[in-house]
């Protein structure tokens, strides 16, 4: 176990180096002079030169890369060209926003997915099974940006049930403590605001959680079908249909492994999908941070945003892998 952990950590090093090389090259491979892009159509020549100077664009590449990595190691993600603020401080509240959203998306995915999967397997070949698996199939094929737009159209615009944008009621903002607004409202013991925050979470969480939900439902169902044939379940089943609860509990235990796998695999999808969902729902998270940066050609932010998301992805995968070998020691690497 320890040896595996160490090996897994060592393997991270080349990956991290490669990641920084890729993000580093973003600024240097774009067409045209970055300084010109940033300053736009009213830029004067001297302004362009000043900016080149301050960005260090005149140094040779290896030196620039060296400076880049040294800065990263000190936790310096650079400065946003657009806001001139430190990216490392700008990025934290956004990370919290994205975490909150992905967490609730995952919650939605796991809750609905696991239950649908279990019931589907239990009622195999019933109309419920058929419908659930049909929706799961549609779900894995869903363009989530379209789903998000349709949600906005139906629930925010036509029906007016849920808000179409943002994290909270802008007339009545929460004073941030942790930037996890559900928690913040909890700490303030302010439940009317908490309800507001939860309402804002519903549509984007569903949009973001749909693909993992569908995948979890399918995985749970297929692993459940195997369990169904176990002696234990057969015995319980033989006692009659009233034993659903017993099986349900047993099934949940068995669903942990596939769900864990999916969480590991799908964080990438979620973090990537966050760019789309956050853009549509005006969610001030890291995905939108990167998207806006692309529109403004704010290359340091694009660089660092992508690096941070990739870093998180790698870390979550690491944790999932380690958990995996902990939960199921039979798995060898």
């Amino acid at each position: 176990m320890f040896a595996y952990t160490m090996r897994r950590l060592l393997m991270l090093i080349p990956v991290l180096v490669g990641m920084t090389l890729i993000t580093f090259s973003i600024v240097h491979l774009i067409p045209g002079n970055p300084a010109q892009v940033i300053l736009g159509e009213t830029a004067t020549e001297s302004a362009i030169q000043d900016l080149e100077e301050s960005m260090g664009l005149n140094e040779p590449y290896p030196i620039q890369y060296g400076v880049y990595v040294t800065d990263l190691l000190q936790g310096d993600l650079g400065t946003s060209l657009r806001s001139k603020a430190e990216i490392s401080t700008e990025i934290l509240p956004r990370l919290a926003a994205t975490f909150e959203l992905t967490f609730f998306a995952m919650l939605f995915a796991v809750f609905i997915g696991v239950n649908a999967g279990i019931i589907s397997a239990w009622k195999q070949n019933s109309w419920f099974d058929f419908l659930a698996m049909f929706f799961a199939l549609v779900g894995v094929s869903m363009p989530i940006f379209w789903l998000a737009l349709m949600e906005q159209w139906a629930f925010a615009q036509e029906l007016g049930w849920l808000p179409a944008y943002g994290r909270e009621n802008s007339r009545d903002p929460i004073e941030p403590i942790t930037y996890f607004y559900v928690l913040d409202s909890f700490f303030h013991m302010d439940f009317s605001r908490m309800i507001q925050v939860l309402k804002h979470l519903i549509l984007p969480s569903i949009a973001l959680g749909t693909i993992p939900m569908a995948i979890i439902a399918r995985m749970t169902r297929s692993s459940m079908l195997e369990v169904m044939n176990s002696d234990y379940i057969r015995t319980v089943r033989a006692k009659g249909s009233g034993q659903f609860l017993v099986i349900y509990k047993h099934a949940l235990k068995n669903a942990i492994i596939p769900v864990l796998t999916v969480i590991g695999l799908q964080t990438g999808v979620l973090l990537g999908g966050a760019i789309l969902t956050e853009t549509i729902f005006s969610w001030p998270g890291i995905g939108r941070y990167v998207y806006e940066a692309i529109n403004y050609r704010d290359y340091p932010v694009i660089q660092s945003g992508i690096l941070v998301i990739a870093f998180l992805f790698v870390m979550i995968n690491l944790i999932v892998d380690l958990l995996y070998s902990y939960i199921d020691p039979r798995i060898k690497y």
């Binding site: 975490f99 919650l107 941030p176 349900y248």
Partner: protein, 554 residues
């Protein structure tokens, strides 16, 4: 059985929520610590119950809240509420009215400006506003070595450089020196007269920040604006919202009317409108022109338009064949259906343009006839130039949308279709934004699309930037050089007699129209919407208006 099943479900959900709380809690510590580093979090007692909160929704976040170091309209829209300039613009136009200076004198030679400042005004941090503060701010912008210039942190005061002819030490820099006469009197001595000096002083980009705050916040002043305006800065959560609160000691009694203002970022036009309709926000900027009819018809919503302050144009490189022939340029001008473009692009919320200058500007020449959509005339002109058999030409289309050109690609295609009718075969050239701007400066293009937006409401900013021969290679991408026009523009720039200036600009426009170095397409009139309980809201053409007088009717 059924009951137990649901009970289990509820239990499961509760468990998951608990898990949520726990795992969230771990993150809490980390976020908290880093918050301490960033410092300066707003300490608001946000007991907003029963208070009037005005929510203004817009499409993008501010870049910076230090207006001198940015050219971003979303920034000045907010800082307009917090910081004030020596002078101000009239509510609906670019006419100059008193601001922090209640009066001013100009010497006859136009080299000496004296401003008489309001007395008893304090900044939001409690320090006094005085002539010394004014001087500090101007020196900060003009002198890169100044202790508050923050040059090393990447601060560039490009708007100052553009408007005052450069920085300290530059030959073209117009401000010679600034003298504090006494606490409430300040004198600017210029090297040469500047026709639009007063307009500059009214610009939102040159307001007075508290010197004590510059000292306190240093380069973080861009996240902590402290001025004398009707609203105090409270907090900014990036890409989300900026909260301002009423400044109780504002120099004008009874203002502001509302207790706080929230600038909310909602990038998507459709979502922004939904937010307005559902009452989540009170005013929205950037209404999609196609939705204007919906808003107009809807009870409880009011439609507003801003006066036009920009021009979208097709530049004709006057030094490239065949555009070096004035007949060809005129022919192209006749062959493009401006009205169709205005209708298509802006659902009619745009006026077709015959001059580079927007109509509301001083010195706009309404006598200019412009070029009517007239295919026959175009063909005649082409024949005169020797192109009766048609010709081929390149049109460069910009890769980004701008207020003056919300959908450049579509406009390019309309133009392509238009010109095909007179036998001009257009091939569309697409470039990335940076190469586009660089190469058009170098003159690689034949026809190209671009535009210009006003800032200080002065004709010079449009006409000189775009068409003065001296600006070839910087902002004049048509390579148009006409000594007569240059002479007129030069005279107008240094004259301080506004009537005379207006005349000179009118003359210049007539000559420009004759030479036809560009096809001016449209001046767009942005539309916005507000809930009808919002009173006294007046949109300004510069896109930055004071919200001090806005009231919410209950």
């Amino acid at each position: 059985m059924k009951f137990r099943f649901w009970a289990l479900m509820v239990l499961l959900l509760a468990f998951m929520l608990l898990f949520a709380a726990c795992s969230g809690g771990e993150d809490t510590g980390a976020t908290d610590e880093s918050d301490g580093d960033s410092g300066g979090e707003a300490e608001t007692e946000s007991g907003s119950d029963g208070e009037d909160v005005l929510v203004f929704a817009r499409g993008g976040d501010s870049e910076s809240l230090d207006p001198g170091s940015t050219t971003d309209g979303e920034s000045s829209r907010v800082t307009k509420q917090v910081l004030e300039s020596l002078l101000d613009f009239d509510k609906e136009s670019f006419d100059v009215v008193p601001g922090l200076a209640h009066d001013w004198d100009v010497s006859d030679d136009g080299l000496n400006y004296t401003f008489y400042l309001e007395e008893g005004v304090t900044f939001h941090d409690g320090t006094d506003f005085n002539a010394e503060a004014v001087k500090t701010n101007f020196e900060r912008w003009s002198d890169p070595e100044h202790e508050y210039a923050f040059t090393d942190e990447g601060y560039v005061y490009s708007m100052y450089g553009t408007m005052f002819g450069g920085y300290k030490g530059d030959e073209s820099h117009v401000i010679e020196e600034i003298n504090v006469v006494n606490d409430h009197e300040i004198e600017f001595i210029l090297k040469q007269p500047l026709g639009y000096f007063l307009q500059n002083m009214a610009m939102t980009y040159f307001p007075i920040t508290s010197p004590a705050a510059l000292e306190e916040y240093g380069p973080e002043i861009n996240e902590n604006p402290v001025g004398t305006g009707p609203f105090k800065f409270e907090s900014w959560s990036k890409d989300d919202s900026i909260v301002l609160s009423k400044f109780e000691d504002y120099r004008i009694d009874d203002q502001p009317k509302v207790d706080s203002v929230v600038f909310e970022v909602i990038p998507d036009n459709a979502a922004r409108l939904i937010a307005l309709q559902s009452g989540e926000v009170d005013i929205m900027d950037g209404l999609n022109p196609d939705d204007a009819a919906t808003v107009d018809a809807e009870q409880g919503l009011d439609l507003f338009t801003r006066d036009e302050n920009n021009v979208g144009y097709v530049g004709l490189n006057t030094q490239k064949e065949p555009l070096d022939q004035v007949e060809v340029r005129r022919a192209i001008n006749h062959a493009i259906d401006r009205q169709a473009i205005a209708d298509a692009m802006y659902a009619g919320y745009a006026n077709s343009a015959k001059n580079p200058l927007p109509p509301s500007y001083m010195g706009y020449n309404d006598e200019v006839e412009g070029y009517e959509y007239d295919l026959e005339r175009a063909q005649e002109l082409l024949a005169e130039a020797g192109y009766e058999d048609g010709l081929e030409i390149e049109l460069w289309t910009m890769p980004v949308a701008r207020p003056y050109m919300p959908d450049p690609e579509t406009v390019a295609e309309i133009i392509q279709n238009n010109l095909a009718e007179v036998g001009i075969e257009v091939s569309i050239v697409r470039e990335e934004w940076a190469p586009y701007l660089e190469k058009t400066l170098e003159g690689e293009q034949q026809m190209f699309m671009l535009g210009w937006s006003g800032t200080n409401g002065d004709p010079d900013y449009f006409l000189s930037s775009l068409l003065h021969g001296d600006n070839v290679g910087s902002s004049n991408r048509t390579f148009y050089e006409n000594d007569e026009v240059d002479e007129l523009l030069d005279q107008a720039k240094v004259s301080i007699d506004q009537d005379k200036r207006a005349e000179l600009y009118q003359e210049a426009q007539a000559l420009i129209s004759e030479d036809s170095p560009m096809v001016t397409l449209v001046h767009s009139t942005p539309v916005l919407a507000a809930a009808s309980y919002v009173n006294n809201y007046v949109p300004h053409p510069s896109t930055s208006e004071s919200l001090a007088e806005v009231e919410l009717e209950n």
